[in-house]
C-alpha cells in the first residue's frame, strides 16, 4: 500500500483536497434534496466513484482535524475561518481529531457517512452530535479518533473519588488477624449452579427480542393514566400536559392506534383519581388538542406522506373528535396532495360535518373551487335536508365544476323545499352541461311539479332554438312520466308542421319520436310509420328507431 512516505507530498495533496471538496459538496446536496430525489442517490454515487478512485490509487486517507483546518500528514488540505460553514470545525467541535478512510470503503458505507454528516443538527440536533452518528453506524472502513477530554466532566473527580474509595488499607498485623478469623470460619458456601445456555434458551431469547421490537407507545400511554392514582390534585395539570405531549408524539410518529387509545382513556378514565371530576375536566384539554389545527395538520402530513393508517383506526379516531375539529379538517382538505389522503379527510368530514353543518358550510367560501366541490360532495354524503339551503346558495358558484356537484347533490333531495326552484334556475345556466344535468335531475324526480317545469320549458319561448342534444334531453326525461297527457303532448309535437324553421321543427319532432319510443307507446306507431320515410334524415331516423323500440322493446343496434 502506498503511504505518504513513499511518494512525494504534492502527488497526493491535490487529490485529497479535491476529495474533501467532493464530501463537502455532497453534504450540501444531501441536505438540499429529499432521499427519493435522483440527485440524492447520484450525489452518493459520484462521491463514491471519487473516493474509491482515490483509495485505490493512494491507499488509506488519514485526516487530522484542528479547529480551522484539516491536515494530511503535516500539510493543510482544508482551511476555513468561517463560523458557520466550516468543515474542519464541524468535526473538531464534537471532539473528532482524526478520521481515516480505509481502502475497501463500500458505496453503502460512504453513503451512510455522507448521510451522517448531512444530518440537520440545527433542526433536530439538540441531542445528536456527529460522533454519536458515526458511532451508531459502526463503520468498517471509516475510523476516527476522539479527544476524550471532550467528555471529561470534572477533571479532579477521578483522583478524589479513587482516594476516597481506597480509604485506609488494612495494615499488616490487621490483615493477619483478619486472616486468622477467616480461616476459622466455617464454610457456608451456597453458590448458584451455572447452567449453560442451551439452544432452547437462544430460541426463547430470539422470540423475546422479536416481541421487543413492537412499539412502546401503547404501554407508555396506558402508564400515564396510572399517574392519576398516585397524583395529588395539584399534579393533574402536569399529568395532562404529559399526556398531551405523548399524544402529539403518537401523531408525529404515525401511531394513530396509541393516539386513539389515549382519547378512549381520556373519555372514560379509570376512576382512581382523588377528584374524578377535576381529572375529567383537565382531560378535556386533550380532546381539544386532538381537534386542533396543529394536530389535524400533522395528521394531514402523515396521510400525504403515504401513511394511511388502518381504516378502522382512522375512523375510530375521527369518531372520538368533536365538531370543533371541522374547521381544522377543512383547512387541510385544500392542502393535501394525494387522492387517498383527501378521501380520508372527506370521510372524516362526512362524519364530523353531520354534527355541525354550519361549520362545514363555512368551507363553501373557500377560495379554492376544489375545496368547495369537496364540501358539496360531503353535504351530499351527509344527506341531511339541513344542507339544502347551502346547496342552493352554492348553485350560483362561479366554477362550473362546483355547480355540477351541487346539481348532483340537489338531485338527491327529491321533494325537499327549495330544490325545485334551484333546479329550474339551473336550466338557464350558461353552461350546457349544467343545464342538461338539471334536466336529468328533474326527470329523476318523477313528480308532477318537476314535469310541469319540463313541459313549460318545452313550450316556452326559444326552446326550439336550443341545440338538438339539449332538446333531446328534455324529451328523454319526459318519458319518465308515461301518462296519457304526455303521450298526447308528444303526438301533438310529432304532428307539428311548419314552413318556418323547418329543420328546427324537424328536430323537435325527432325528439318527440324518440320520447314516444322510450315510452313504448304503441298508439304512436301509425304516425311513426309515416315519418319513417320522411325527407328529413333526422326525423326518419328517429322514427324508425322508435318503431323498432316499440315493437321489439329495444333500440336497434347501429
Amino acid at each position: 500500500m502506498l503511504t505518504l512516505n513513499t511518494m512525494s507530498a504534492e502527488d497526493i495533496l491535490r487529490p485529497a483536497q479535491e476529495l474533501i471538496q467532493v464530501f463537502q459538496r455532497a453534504r450540501k446536496s444531501l441536505r438540499m434534496y429529499p432521499a427519493n430525489n435522483p440527485v440524492y442517490s447520484r450525489t452518493i454515487e459520484d462521491a463514491f466513484r471519487r473516493s474509491d478512485g482515490f483509495l485505490l490509487e493512494y491507499g488509506d486517507l488519514e485526516l487530522k482535524f484542528r479547529q480551522n483546518d484539516i491536515l494530511l500528514g503535516d500539510q493543510v488540505v482544508y482551511q476555513s475561518q468561517d463560523k458557520e460553514d466550516n468543515f474542519a470545525f464541524f468535526f473538531f467541535k464534537d471532539g473528532v481529531r482524526e478520521l481515516t478512510f480505509r481502502r475497501g470503503l463500500s458505496s453503502m458505507e460512504l453513503g451512510e457517512f455522507l448521510r451522517a454528516i448531512s444530518f440537520d443538527f440545527e433542526r433536530h440536533g439538540e441531542e445528536e452530535d456527529i460522533v454519536t452518528l458515526l458511532w451508531e453506524r459502526d463503520f468498517e472502513h471509516i475510523k476516527y479518533v476522539i479527544d476524550e477530554n471532550f467528555l471529561l466532566e470534572d477533571e479532579v473527580y477521578e483522583n478524589r473519588a479513587v482516594a476516597q474509595a481506597k480509604g485506609e488499607s488494612n495494615d499488616e498485623p490487621e490483615l493477619k488477624r483478619i486472616y486468622g478469623e477467616i480461616m476459622k470460619e466455617e464454610d457456608v458456601s451456597g453458590q448458584p449452579e451455572v447452567a449453560p445456555v442451551t439452544k432452547a434458551d437462544l430460541h426463547a431469547l430470539l422470540k423475546e427480542l422479536e416481541r421487543d421490537s413492537v412499539s412502546k407507545l401503547p404501554k407508555l400511554t396506558a402508564m400515564l393514566f396510572d399517574f392519576f392514582q398516585e397524583a395529588d390534585i395539584s399534579e393533574y395539570v402536569g399529568t395532562v400536559d404529559l399526556i398531551i405531549d405523548a399524544f402529539e408524539y403518537c401523531i408525529k410518529t404515525g401511531d394513530l392506534r396509541s393516539a386513539v387509545g389515549l382519547l378512549a382513556k381520556a373519555s372514560d378514565p379509570p376512576p382512581v383519581a382523588q377528584d374524578v371530576l377535576l381529572m375529567k375536566k383537565e382531560l378535556e384539554r386533550l380532546l381539544e388538542f386532538a381537534s386542533s389545527p396543529e394536530i389535524v395538520g400533522m395528521l394531514g402530513e402523515q396521510l400525504d406522506s403515504g401513511e394511511l393508517f388502518e381504516t378502522n383506526i382512522f375512523e375510530e379516531y375521527v369518531r372520538r373528535l368533536d365538531k370543533s375539529a371541522v374547521p381544522s379538517f377543512i383547512s387541510i382538505l385544500g392542502e393535501l396532495k394525494t387522492i387517498e389522503a383527501r378521501k380520508r379527510i372527506i370521510n372524516a368530514l362526512v362524519f364530523l360535518g353531520g354534527k355541525d353543518i354550519q361549520a362545514l358550510a363555512k368551507g363553501l367560501s373557500d377560495h379554492r373551487w376544489y375545496v368547495v366541490r369537496n364540501i358539496i360532495y360531503i353535504f351530499r354524503q351527509i344527506g341531511d335536508p339541513g344542507v339544502i339551503e347551502f346547496l342552493v346558495k352554492a348553485a350560483r358558484h362561479q366554477d362550473v365544476r362546483v355547480r355540477m356537484e351541487v346539481l348532483r347533490a340537489l338531485g338527491e333531495f327529491e321533494g325537499q323545499q327549495g330544490v325545485l326552484p334551484a333546479l329550474r334556475e339551473a336550466l338557464d345556466d350558461p353552461e350546457a352541461s349544467i343545464r342538461m344535468m338539471a334536466v336529468r335531475a328533474l326527470g329523476r324526480m318523477k313528480s308532477a311539479p318537476a314535469k310541469k317545469i319540463i313541459l313549460s320549458r318545452i313550450n316556452g319561448k326559444g326552446f326550439i332554438d336550443l341545440d338538438f342534444n339539449e332538446k333531446k334531453e328534455y324529451f328523454e326525461v319526459l318519458a319518465n312520466w308515461p301518462e296519457t297527457e304526455t303521450e298526447e303532448f308528444l303526438l301533438r309535437v310529432l304532428r307539428t308542421g311548419s314552413f318556418f324553421k323547418k329543420s328546427k321543427v324537424a328536430e323537435l319532432r325527432a325528439c318527440a319520436a324518440y320520447s314516444l319510443g322510450l315510452m313504448g307507446c304503441r298508439g304512436a306507431l301509425g304516425h311513426l310509420e309515416k315519418l319513417k320515410n320522411a325527407k328529413n334524415r333526422l326525423l326518419s331516423d328517429y322514427s324508425y328507431r322508435a318503431i323498432k323500440r316499440i315493437e321489439y322493446g329495444q333500440q336497434p343496434g347501429h
Binding site: V131, E185, D212, K216
Partner: protein, 465 residues
C-alpha cells in the same frame, strides 16, 4: 477487487463453521463423509478470505476472536459456537491458527484429527504443533496472555471511563435537582464510551462496579446498573445502538430519586411508613423528570417505561402499586436484574448491610420467576459466573484472594487477585488464573470457600483501583 464482500459476516461464518467441524470431529472421524461436507463448507469460506487477503489467522485475544486482526463481532446465533470454540482453544493453550495458503479438505481433515486427539495430552499445544508439522499451509500459535503492561494501560482507560461516567451522572442529577436542563448529547457520548469499553475490556469495566461509595451511592449505583445492564445486553446479542439505548435508560432508571430528600435517602435507621411512601414514588417522579429533560423520542419513551417499571415484578408485586402490567419491558427486566444485584451488594440504604456478590446472586436465584425473569437470569448467572467479581475467596493454597474476572471457558474457575500469602501475610497482589494446571494436569489453585469481605472490613477498592 470486490470491496462489497461482507468481510464481517464471512468472518463470523468462518469461525462459527470452525466450531461446527471441531465439534463433529469429536464425535465422528473427520474422514467420515458427513463431516467432510461440513469441512468443505469451512474450506470454501476460508479460501475466499485467504484469496482476498493472502492469508488468514484466527486468533483469541481476551474473550474475543480476531480474524486477520479485526475483531469478529458475534451475533446471537453464533453465541454457542463461539463459546464452545473458545473453550476448545483454551483447553489446548491454543491462541491462533494461521492459514498461509489455500487450504484443502484433506488438510483440514488431518488437522482436525490431530486437534481432537491432542486434548488429552499433558502438553496439548506442544503436541498439536509437533503433529501438524507436515501441513504446509497451517500453523498454530500459543495462547498469549495479555501483557501486564497493556493491562495497566487498559485499567487506566477503564478507570477514567468509569469515574467520568459517575461524575457526569452526579452533574446530571444535581442539575435536575435545581431544574436545569442537561445535555443529552453528552449523556449519549458517555454511554457510548461505556459500551465501547464493555465490548473491548468487559472484565475490567465490570470490575469497577465492585467499588462502592456510600456517600455518592446513587451516582455510582446508576453507573453500575448501566454497566451491568449493557454487559447483560451484550450477552443477549443486542446491537450497538440498542446497547447504547439500554445503557442510557439504565443510567436514568433512578433519576426520580433526585426528588427524594437526602435525609430519607441516607437515613441510617429503618424506614417508617412515610419514608416508604416517598421512596416508592421515585419511579413516577422518574417518568416526569425524563420528559422534562428530554422531548419525546424512542429513547425517552423507553427510559420512562424502565424508570416506571424497574420495581415492578413479573408476578405483579413491587411498586408503584398499580394493577399488574401486561408484560414488563425487556429493558425493564434487564435493569431490574442489574439494579437488584448492585443494590444488594452495595447499598446501605434501607438500613441493610451489603451482601457479598455470591450471596446476592444466590438470593436472586431464589427470586427467579416471582421477581426476576428466568431466561434473563440464566444469561446473567452465566455472565457473573459461580463466583462473581468481587467475591473474597480462600484458595486451597491457603492464600486469600478476590475474584477479579470471570473465565468464559470455565465458570467456576475465575481469575483471582491473590492478596495474601499462605500464612496471611500481606503481599504485592497479583492475578492468578484458576484454570492453570501443573505438569501433572492438576489445577494449580482452586477455591475452597467464599468469605464476606464486609464482615472483615476488607476494602475491595484497594485492589481494584
Amino acid at each position: 477487487m470486490d470491496s462489497s464482500l461482507d468481510i464481517s459476516r464471512l468472518s463470523r461464518e468462518i469461525v462459527s463453521q470452525l466450531a461446527v467441524i471441531v465439534r463433529t470431529s469429536q464425535l465422528h472421524d473427520p474422514r467420515n463423509i458427513a463431516v467432510a461436507t461440513s469441512i468443505e463448507k469451512f474450506v470454501s469460506g476460508a479460501n475466499v478470505l485467504i484469496l482476498e487477503e493472502s492469508s488468514m489467522e484466527i486468533e483469541i485475544v481476551g474473550e474475543y476472536f480476531y480474524l486477520n486482526g479485526e475483531r469478529v463481532k458475534f451475533t446471537m446465533e453464533h453465541l454457542l459456537n463461539f463459546d464452545f470454540l473458545q473453550r476448545e482453544f483454551k483447553k489446548r493453550a491454543l491462541g491462533s491458527i494461521k492459514f498461509m495458503c489455500e487450504v484443502s479438505t484433506a488438510d483440514m481433515q488431518e488437522f482436525l484429527t490431530v486437534f481432537t486427539s491432542c486434548q488429552f495430552s499433558a502438553e496439548p499445544f506442544e503436541d498439536l504443533t509437533l503433529k501438524i508439522e507436515g501441513l504446509r499451509c497451517i500453523s498454530v500459535g500459543r495462547l498469549r496472555r495479555i501483557s501486564e503492561q497493556s493491562d495497566i494501560d487498559m485499567r487506566k482507560t477503564v478507570k477514567r471511563t468509569y469515574f467520568n461516567a459517575v461524575s457526569f451522572t452526579r452533574g446530571v442529577m444535581n442539575k435536575i435537582k435545581v431544574g436545569e436542563r442537561i445535555s443529552m448529547k453528552k449523556a449519549k457520548r458517555v454511554v457510548e464510551t461505556m459500551v465501547d469499553t464493555l465490548l473491548d475490556k468487559e472484565e475490567f469495566l465490570l470490575g469497577m462496579t465492585v467499588i462502592k461509595n456510600y456517600d455518592e451511592y446513587t451516582f455510582h449505583h446508576s453507573v453500575n446498573v448501566s454497566i451491568i445492564s449493557v454487559a447483560l445486553g451484550q450477552r443477549l446479542g443486542l446491537d450497538r445502538k440498542s446497547l447504547m439505548e439500554l445503557g442510557l435508560v439504565a443510567l436514568f432508571h433512578d433519576i426520580g430519586k433526585t426528588l427524594i430528600p437526602n435525609e430519607i435517602l441516607n437515613k441510617p435507621t429503618a424506614f417508617d411508613e412515610q419514608d416508604w411512601k416517598v421512596m416508592t414514588r421515585h419511579p413516577l417522579s422518574g417518568v416526569k423528570l425524563i420528559f422534562q429533560m428530554k422531548s419525546f423520542d424512542s429513547a425517552s419513551v423507553r427510559a420512562a417505561i424502565v424508570a416506571y417499571e424497574h420495581h415492578i415484578h413479573p408476578d405483579g408485586s413491587g411498586y408503584p402499586g398499580v394493577k399488574p402490567i401486561a408484560e414488563l419491558d425487556l429493558f425493564s427486566r434487564i435493569v431490574a436484574i442489574a439494579d437488584q444485584y448492585d443494590a444488594m451488594t452495595s447499598s446501605r440504604i434501607y438500613a441493610r448491610t451489603p451482601m457479598t456478590p455470591d450471596k446476592a446472586l444466590a438470593l436472586m436465584v431464589k427470586r427467579i420467576s416471582s421477581q426476576l425473569d428466568p431466561l434473563l437470569m440464566k444469561f446473567f448467572i452465566n455472565l457473573a459466573g459461580t463466583y462473581p467479581v468481587g467475591t473474597l475467596v480462600v484458595l486451597d493454597t491457603m492464600e486469600l484472594g478476590i475474584v477479579f474476572s470471570a473465565n468464559q471457558s470455565d465458570n467456576s474457575r475465575p481469575k483471582v487477585k491473590v492478596i495474601t500469602g499462605p500464612g496471611g501475610n500481606r503481599i504485592e497482589s497479583w492475578v492468578a488464573d484458576l484454570t492453570e494446571k501443573n505438569a501433572a494436569g492438576g489445577y494449580l489453585r482452586s477455591i475452597r470457600k467464599t468469605v464476606d469481605h464486609n464482615k472483615y472490613g476488607i476494602n475491595l477498592a484497594e485492589y481494584f483501583l
